[in-house]
Symmetry: C2
Subunit: 245 residues, 2 copies
Amino acid sequence: MRFDVAQNAAFQTPARSCGSRSCAACVVRDQAICADLKDSDRDALSLLGRRVTLRAGQTVMWEGDDSMIVANVIEGTLKLATSTGDGREQIVGVVYASDFIGRPFGVRTPHSVTALTDARLCLFPRGSFDGFAMRHGELQHRLLQRTLDDLDRTRAWMLLLARKTAREKVATFLLDMGRRLRADGDDVIALPLSRQQIADVLGITIETVSRQMTELKREAVIDLIGRRGVRLLNKPALQAMAEAA
Amino acid sequence: MRFDVAQNAAFQTPARSCGSRSCAACVVRDQAICADLKDSDRDALSLLGRRVTLRAGQTVMWEGDDSMIVANVIEGTLKLATSTGDGREQIVGVVYASDFIGRPFGVRTPHSVTALTDARLCLFPRGSFDGFAMRHGELQHRLLQRTLDDLDRTRAWMLLLARKTAREKVATFLLDMGRRLRADGDDVIALPLSRQQIADVLGITIETVSRQMTELKREAVIDLIGRRGVRLLNKPALQAMAEAA
DNA sequence: CGCTTGATTGATGCCATTCAACATGGGTGG
DNA sequence: CCACCCATGTTGAATGGCATCAATCAAGCG
């Protein structure tokens, strides 16, 4: 298991103030799928579940397992992954705070879920979650919206995996991260993923990621700061690389 | 536009008996997302839409367009595709009778939709469909189920695109088709896709598809019958190839 | 300080693409 | 009904991009 090792603590998501177990103080209550519930309904839902803490590297669900649990991510970053019989792995999704994980209304978990940083979840037994959802249209609607968005993003990613070159993949990835992490003033970003994980997201090898990165650095398109830091020096150039040949 | 040409009529889905415009006689009424609606509700929904016929090669929606329509597929096969700026195309999904197409609850169509065979749709303006769905939880639930399944299948396909070899891809594809088309007694299937389309599904080139196919034929794992026909002679061998190296 | 883990760099080989020629077959019109 | 034609599919040779194998470098940590 390549990733069952603690991640570098220096780059973990900073702790949020949500020690409480009530929804009233929850930091993701307005973004998560429970956002549209009445307070009373949300509290009822809350009673079905529990808050759990994960260490970086811990796996919550395994590919092919019975689907027993679902959860909201309160804090942290996790990866969704599948692998072939002989051990080749592909990351099929990366989820962040306020995202939803697990397979509701289904019996099989189609991919593993593993914490990339320390994380906190709002965890529900799938059965009771399903039951609650069936009685609350607003919840299903949010879940549908989110699933449709996921599907769109996943399909767009297929184009990258199948048709883009290593260089295009890395450029696309860096821009995506810049957008997602809302690069601070100077366009410096701290990657939440190791080189191996980047490779597993892009469907290439760790060596190729490294080579492309240093190549981009040599061309003064980016700058590399330590292991996880990247400064985007020339976004238009990256954009051009990301799109066409 | 590579596929805007009529497909070989010999392999089109055989005509179904559903000339009526009422739901009562609809051939997909028990599989489509409207299956759980009361008769009266289904009729109401029906009044919002209309039946349309497509010729093979016609495109119903273009990537990036405003999302104006959604539809149930009554008959035929269609492809969902995206492409890079410089024309590389990737098929991100193939849909069959009773499947749902279009992007409800969203403003952009994330991929094009093109008929591979002649087809018939039950078409709705997105706005009125969305409104109807908001008032009918059963419909949203079916749609959610379907979308979750799509997402699972799409993610599994990512592993193929990113990590499998050409040989593994072709083997996987043939098995998938065998399953989907419920190969008749002798395990003979009529591919609904041209070599080019198969290549676009698998993320490889047409020549590579061709080479792998003839290779498999030489090894007596399959037999090729004309352009579209394939007989699966040795499924276990295919299965072994599809999975690991 | 050695040890471990993650990242970079280098050398080599292979698989899939590319470019190109050729075959096939289904459809059409004389 | 056959000859022709064009789209589709197959086959070949050469190239190149990425993987693989392997060594080196750079950090963090006990």
